[in-house]
């Protein structure tokens, strides 16, 4: 109940300020002066979601919202800015005043594709235009087959088959994690894939269920319930090392099956624009950390098959650097090079 009320109340408060024409806060804002850093936060914080309301990132953000609100003591307004492959929202984070009052979720590696692909005209941007504030979720890529497929029924079988004859595989779009997963696999293990790009995970999963494609590349969270129901069979998870996904305990990782050295995931974490006052970053990062690590939050995300993977701002940054390196390498070689 409380999340509903907080959302409503925050909207009301913000709106009431507008209607009665309160001018005060405008005059106080500037570029992260020390006084405002001490007072932070003294007004609502906007969290920008680069995807539509009701989508995966949005749902995750709204689940997290009350826990971080409780930590910060000010309302959080979730603002959806879908469009431009996410860049309608991410642009807004980049260009926001670095006060800490405008932050948002960034989703890798789709986010990297948006500025690394020179055709999209954002090459002046990099992860350095953002201040990482902590990672919320990491959802590993996985490969699924149709349970009735008699050509293969495990990962080595799939890879051996794909070395001799091209298999059709799904992807959630050019430069998505699923696309990089199949590109990376072919790059390393010499498999041949004809990639079928769709507009969302459900496109690809439908194609596999209807046996129109040979393999589905998707994320654990998207495959879990169908795997549990036996509608499709996940043959491998592209996790780091041998640690299996708690949501798919019966599925081996790629490394377990002898195809190590390559992992793929989509992650989402919070970030603000560059050059936020370090003291403001500390306050935000602390609240975000406690919010993400809250047991109730972890439990609610687990119900959706999503693994909470908290990473501190410095680890989050390392993750972004690593993601950018893989994305640049595969993208330059296969997509826009």
């Amino acid at each position: 109940m409380h999340s509903t009320r907080l959302t409503r109340r925050s909207a009301l408060r913000y709106g009431a300020g507008l209607a009665s024409g309160v001018l005060g806060p405008t005059l106080l804002t500037g570029c992260g002066s020390s006084a405002s850093a001490d007072a932070f936060p003294d007004r609502p914080i906007q969290v920008i979601i680069a995807y539509a309301a009701g989508g995966g990132t949005d749902v995750g953000a709204r689940i997290l919202q009350p826990y971080v609100e409780a930590e910060l003591g000010v309302p959080i307004e979730v603002v959806n800015r879908p469009g431009g492959g996410g860049w309608s929202g991410w642009n807004e984070i980049v260009t926001a005043e670095p006060t800490g009052y405008v932050i948002g979720f960034i989703n890798t590696p789709n986010f990297m594709t948006g500025y690394l692909d020179p055709r999209l005209g954002r090459t002046e941007i990099s992860y350095e235009n953002f201040t990482p504030l902590g990672n919320q979720v990491t959802d590993f890529s996985a490969v699924a087959i149709h349970p009735d497929d008699d050509r293969f029924d495990d990962l080595p079988g799939v890879i051996n088959h794909a070395r001799g004859q091209a298999l059709t595989v799904t992807s959630t779009g050019v430069g998505s994690d699923d696309h990089y997963a199949s590109l990376g696999l072919s790059d390393r293990y010499g498999t041949q894939f004809d990639v079928l790009h769709g507009e969302g995970a459900s496109d690809g999963i439908t194609a596999l269920l209807g046996r129109h494609v040979d393999l589905a590349f998707a994320n654990v969270g998207e495959l879990k319930s169908l795997h549990d129901d036996g509608e499709l069979k996940v043959v491998g998870v592209m996790a780091d090392g041998r640690q299996r996904s708690p949501h798919l305990p019966d599925v081996p990782t790629f490394e377990e099956e002898g195809f190590g050295g390559f992992s793929s995931w989509s992650s989402r974490g919070l970030a603000g624009p560059a050059n936020i006052d370090p003291r403001v970053v500390d306050k935000l990062a602390g609240a975000i950390k406690r919010g993400i690590q809250n047991r109730e939050h972890i439990g609610q995300l687990a119900e959706q098959g999503l693994a909470v993977d908290y990473r501190s701002p410095s680890e989050h940054k390392k993750m972004l650097i690593r993601d950018e390196r893989t994305t640049r390498q595969l993208g330059t070689k296969y997509i826009w090079g």
């Binding site: 409503r8 909207a11 709106g15 300020g17 507008l18 007004r43 609502p44 006060t99």
Partner: protein, 174 residues
């Protein structure tokens, strides 16, 4: 239903309008086709096919308007007195177009002001402007519309639906 006299004058206007519309379509298709030259690989195929189709159809329209004594009409005898087209197909003379274009300009100004001065001030300004233009001289009714509409939008969008409307420099907080 349509008297012969008016239908003839309408026909010639139609034909003229068809020629202009067709030329505009041809020009549009050519310009867009030029933009498609920078597309890489197979991304260009479908748009070009569609644009070529549009180009051909545009040319057919121009040729027909220039040659046909009758306006473009379905050969199966479907009567042209399709009410929507009857209204919509009228001429684009300056006197007819003046008021719609004034409305459009006001909407453009409204959209431009949205992000500068914020949603509610620009809505008040726009409503004041358009009500005056529509010759509403009843101050009470005008004030009522301005007040009720702003309240409804505030309640529905901001309060209930949680939409963040543009705040602009006057009330912006960030």
């Amino acid at each position: 239903m349509i008297s012969t006299k008016s239908s003839i004058s309408k026909q010639s206007r139609y034909r003229n309008a068809d020629g202009i519309a067709g030329s505009a379509i041809v020009a549009f298709a050519i310009i867009m086709f030029a933009f498609s030259f920078e597309f890489t690989g197979e991304a260009a195929i479908w748009p070009r096919a569609v644009l070529v189709l549009l180009l051909v159809l545009g040319i057919v329209l121009v040729v027909r308007a220039g040659r046909d004594p009758k306006p473009s009409q379905r050969t199966d005898g479907t009567p042209q007195h399709d009410d929507q087209h009857n209204i919509d197909g009228e001429s684009l003379s300056r006197t007819v177009v003046a008021a719609p274009m004034a409305v459009l300009l006001m909407v453009i100004g409204y959209a431009a002001l949205l992000e500068i001065i914020g949603f509610f001030p620009s809505t008040v300004a726009f409503l004041a402007g358009i009500l005056w233009y529509q010759r509403v001289r009843n101050i009470v009714a005008a004030l009522g519309i301005v007040l009720v509409l702003n309240l409804v939008i505030y309640y529905l969008f901001v309060f209930e639906l949680n939409v963040q409307l543009p705040t602009g420099i006057l009330f912006g907080e960030g």
